[in-house]
Symmetry: C2
Amino acid sequence: MRDFAKDHSALALNTATLGHNVESQGAGWSPERVIDACAERGFGAITFWRREIGGRAVEIGERTRAAGLSVSGLCRSPFLVGPLAPPTRQAVLDDFHSSIDMAAGLKAACLTICVGGVVAGTHSMAESLKRVAEIIAEAAPYAAQSNVTLALEPLNPVYGGNRSCLVTVRDAVHLCETIGHSAIAIAVDVYHVWWDLSLGVELKRASAVRIAGYHLCDWLADTRDVLLDRGMMGDGVADLKALRRAVEEAGYTGPCEVEVFSVNNWWKRDPNDVLDICVERFKAVC
Amino acid sequence: MRDFAKDHSALALNTATLGHNVESQGAGWSPERVIDACAERGFGAITFWRREIGGRAVEIGERTRAAGLSVSGLCRSPFLVGPLAPPTRQAVLDDFHSSIDMAAGLKAACLTICVGGVVAGTHSMAESLKRVAEIIAEAAPYAAQSNVTLALEPLNPVYGGNRSCLVTVRDAVHLCETIGHSAIAIAVDVYHVWWDLSLGVELKRASAVRIAGYHLCDWLADTRDVLLDRGMMGDGVADLKALRRAVEEAGYTGPCEVEVFSVNNWWKRDPNDVLDICVERFKAVC
């Protein structure tokens, strides 16, 4: 395993940690200010959210690299199916392509895919995943020609109904194998998989599947809100070292991206303090 | 698969569906009134909660059987580890024994075990499950001599931090195999496992593990409260037929117990209507 106490250049910031995934949350720093603050602290990369980027993808991507960082990712595709997806298949594909274009403009290492919940009327995760596979297979060639990796992210089973019928690494690996396209990879997020004691076995089984991202936070024992009450690393009950070992033993050597949705705690703090604490915890407990 | 449209004698009521698991919820019917209402509608069994029983275990058990029903279970053991467990190991064991005594008095088919969350300081589901295994192994001989089956129930991963470090059927099977005692079995609850596409495979793998209970409800796509907003069968997104097929193919032939925690919907209704709808949905969609 990499030793982050000595070298924290693998540390990446997901700007959701500063509230930038939700309108009027956080301190509202510009991308430029975030880039400079991360560069000062030795972060290696940043993952942005679409709402921060607007029409400035190329500019912000270049600005990030000029500061010595890379763009580790873009959040995210539209929900592809289920109750929160755009209303028609064409609308889904159009927005999916827009998100791919933005990721390409940023030269982001990947685009995060949140697949969406159970398709109305199916009462079936399995059937819903078939629809997901069709849509991703349709978009994959466009992603490949745009040089964008699609990172399928299994979400915590608590979101199975509305946000993601993809809820385990096992199913994500299966989905990748089903689609069988070089533009497809998976993302592993502590918040979503921390409970899964089969993670290491499933990742090892998946030798042909690429891991495109590893996301850090912690699971608070007394989670108050399953969407916006994530913990900072070290404040919860997840076995962070064991989780990282599992992804590294499966060959992952990329950035480790801190992504803490926290409307009542971290988003209320000074971003300078939040970033300092990210560095400290990354070196100490991740 | 059994055909419930023609014969609903496998239907059981968990009295949590009437709010009886929480103080001052529901209409407050006495056990006797619940028994008679279930008997009138052709239910085959009832699972009670400890707070309803008090010192009347033998009496209520006999009353249930006199009405032509069996006692399918008793909810539940104390949390064995984690933040919600009694403060000392002795206090855990004492209350565990009390719950076994009550199940024995009722002649309940099983006692539900909710194992509790991650042990403070461990940051580890795996370590916490080792402590759980020790405590259950210690209580198992007492359960066996009391003729009580201990039904280990994996809970939804959303409860992993505080209520149950046992979150998958896979891990429950492993725990049973680790303890290796004839008094130990597992319970499968739709709310907790509906998302798990590996359920059938894991249950088949577990030929030596007994299934002591199958619990019905539904997962609402837009779940508002992960504790008290369960859906009635048919109102959510779970694949109820596929789930039942998985447990029946693993050899389960016992009662199917409706357990709907629903503070803002079903607990506010007339229990007569709730029970009628349980029967209707059981025959139509389970």
